[in-house]
């Protein structure tokens, strides 16, 4: 995936401001930022749900604002803000999406995914009657149906209890490792980012203000946790002056 000079403006409001990055295969990357930092808009542009004002997103070589459907079967997506139809059973929902993604061995694949994500006992229950944790696992089942090479996740563990959240994170890590898949997820959960991500792209006011491994960022800012780094960034504090060469000036920060 390559994102070049991506910008999205809604009238006078710039949600995403000239960001560029690329994702190497088999990496797990976190888009980190506070509310309104531009994470969801960025993911929406990567998915082709929102057309950029300028710049471009290329996924597997396809321009996502023009040619999304050419590569849509190679990626998938999960978000707590999007649901599967509540009245359909889990099996019915997965069957419909297996058809949409062009999966030939539907029953076999659903059985495998259900076993893998421990949702076998949920398959014949109405999706709307599941708990938040169960819904997340079912949403993940839909997202993994086509074994995507690129998986985009918007707050994958939002509103889950710590135990379930931890289970989901381990499952995602296992999937990425086993498949050599690339994961890009948006989150404001610092512990999650530290545990899951190989690389963090920190957004503030629509701009990339940091890009590095969690360990590097913590070291660069002279902090103990990523959460402390995040607080410094969103509150507009500059990092320790001696810890970075002078010629690498920090991007402009929002006033605290």
């Amino acid at each position: 995936m390559a994102v070049r000079d991506l910008t999205k403006a809604y009238g006078a409001v710039t949600a995403v401001d000239h960001i560029s990055f690329s994702l190497a295969q088999a990496t797990t990357v976190a888009l980190l930022g506070g509310n309104g930092a531009g994470k969801t808009t960025t993911i929406a542009m990567l998915l082709g749900l929102v057309v950029p004002s300028s710049g471009e997103v290329r996924v597997f070589g396809a321009d996502m604002s023009r040619d999304r459907t050419a590569v849509a079967h190679r990626l998938n997506f999960q978000s707590p803000y999007v649901d599967l139809p509540a009245r359909l059973t889990v099996r019915q929902n997965l069957t419909v999406y297996a058809g949409l993604y062009g999966i030939g061995n539907v029953a076999e694949r659903i059985a495998y995914i259900a076993q893998d994500l421990q949702i076998e006992e949920l398959l014949d229950r109405a999706t709307g009657k599941l708990s938040a944790g169960q819904k997340t696992r079912v949403g993940l089942a839909k997202a993994l149906l086509n074994a995507p090479e690129l998986l985009l996740l918007d707050e994958p563990t939002a509103s889950l209890d710590p135990d379930t959240a931890d289970w989901i994170r381990r499952k995602l890590k296992q999937y990425a490792k086993a498949r050599g898949a690339t994961l890009l997820f948006a989150s404001h959960n610092m512990a999650e980012v530290e545990r899951l991500a190989d690389r963090v792209i920190l957004l503030d006011a629509g701009r990339i203000v940091e890009d590095g491994t969690p360990a590097d960022l913590i070291a660069t800012y002279g902090k103990l946790t990523l959460e402390e780094v995040f607080l410094d960034v969103v509150r507009g504090r500059v990092r320790e002056p001696l810890e970075r060469p002078e010629d690498e000036a920090l991007p402009a920060r929002r006033a605290s």
């Binding site: 999205k8 809604y10 949600a15 969801t40 808009t41 929406a44 998915l47 082709g48 749900l49 929102v50 057309v51 604002s65 459907t69 849509a72 079967h73 998938n76 997506f77 978000s79 803000y81 999007v82 649901d83 599967l84 139809p85 509540a86 009245r87 359909l88 059973t89 019915q92 069957t95 419909v96 999406y97 297996a98 058809g99 949409l100 993604y101 062009g102 999966i103 030939g104 061995n105 076999e108 694949r109 059985a111 495998y112 076993q115 893998d116 421990q118 109405a126 944790g133 839909k142 149906l145 086509n146 074994a147 135990d163 379930t164 931890d166 289970w167 381990r170 499952k171 296992q174 086993a178």
Partner: protein, 285 residues
Amino acid sequence: MSAVTATKGGAEPILLPQTGVGASLRRIFALVKRYIYLLRSSGVRLVELIYWPFLQMLTWGFLQKYLAGTASPLAQAAGVLIGSVLLWDILFRSKIGFSTTFIEEMWSRNLGNLLTSPLRPYELVAALSVWSVIRLGVSMVPVAIAAYFIFGFNLLDLGLPLVAFFAVLVLTSWSLGLISAGVILRYGLGAEELAWSLAFLLLPLCCVYYPVSVLPDWLQWVALALPPTHVFEGMRSILLHNTFDVKELWWAAGLNVVYLVAGYLTFSWFLGSARENGTLVQLGE
């Protein structure tokens, strides 16, 4: 949660070809299947599909029976009332079937999943169209049968033109459905009322219960520019005079092509506009 375990010997997904007619048909069928599942999940929905057209048919059927029993000059004309109601319901129910099924995707916050899947916009439209016809069948066939047994009105008496009437009305309903869906996509569920009311705009104009000649001259041109007007004129001609002018049907078919193209372009334009304005993301939240 129990421990995360790697399942051995897992089934790899066998990905079928993603392009071509076969792939398109497969995706359309997958979505139609979703709507069938939805209808099967609720007996209330099934009953509701038949309930309103059945009530309509009863009301107008009894009125027709009353008028037919009087010496009123309206008695003869009254014979076409049930026919008018049933044909109007084909247009109305098909339009509602198209629009509400689309709105259902927004209510269930599923549109984000659909629009990030390999489904093409024209396949979504095709699935909604196919489903509107299936829904129409579920809704209208029992009502047409009931009209025969209760009032002795046999819709099949319209003969072969009935098939053409049906096609014209369904095609018009898809044009209206596309416009409603596009507006709702762009402006959100706040514009939902349009889905219900757009067809009613046609009710006085396409002369469901009276001939075109009743309208003022200038309004007759507007009426004749609407495909359903030719259907209702044709139905009256068959039932009252036992004649049928095929030219009426050709007019309706030609107009439908124009309306369908305009409907699809409108839908595509609103979809593009929703992607520009970010409303597709807001729909999910």
